[in-house]
């Protein structure tokens, strides 16, 4: 998230109620200090540069991650779309942000791999919509 986004978020009127608790504040502080994602059970291995995110942003990521972790714990057979997909989406979005930070050159030469990815995406989308 760049500076303009951070400034824009300041334009939200009033203080959003984020259901912050001392434990969540501690989780976020430790996350920022150590770089260790507080929900290891979700298997999210790659992370963006945390310094780019406000505490509000991290609280929002923490909230959605905590729901995913709770549902994962409650539902051992991984039957719902939410439980199967949300950790994956968090991983995808973290990876995308991490790549934005790395300034690596884009590899657009392998069309076949891109088409394979697209087919996987359509398959995933069909599963998500049919099961949801």
């Amino acid at each position: 998230m760049d500076q303009s986004d951070a400034e824009a978020s300041q334009r939200v009127l009033g203080n959003p109620d984020l259901k912050m608790t001392p434990q969540i504040e501690l989780d976020i502080r430790l996350w920022r200090e150590t770089g260790v994602y507080p929900f290891p059970s979700l298997g999210v291995t790659e992370q963006p540069t945390l310094a780019r995110y406000s505490n509000t942003d991290l609280r929002l990521i923490h909230h959605i991650s905590s729901i995913a972790a709770q549902m994962q714990n409650a539902e051992t057979h991984q039957g719902s779309v939410w439980v199967r997909r949300v950790p994956l989406y968090v991983q995808f979005l973290f990876m995308n942000q991490a790549r934005d930070n790395s300034n690596s050159l884009e590899d657009s030469s392998n069309l076949q791999q891109t088409m394979t990815l697209l087919c996987m995406h359509f398959s995933l989308f069909q599963q998500a919509t049919s099961a949801g």
């Binding site: 978020s9 939200v12 109620d17 984020l18 259901k19 929002l60 909230h63 790549r99 657009s108 990815l117």
Partner: protein, 65 residues
Amino acid sequence: MHALLALSASHLSWLTECPATLQLSYHHRGLAFKGLPEAIGSFSKKNADAALAASILLSWQVTDW
């Protein structure tokens, strides 16, 4: 990332009934809807997964269909 932040803020606003939290979700949703066409316009292996994830997360938040 804004699509995920919007979903989270939207759920929190439902829990808290706080107008500022709802406004925060609208803010992130607006940024996500602005960023998604840009990502699709420069679609590549690098951003394909994130574009798909953002599309699905935003579709979950649409209430008028």
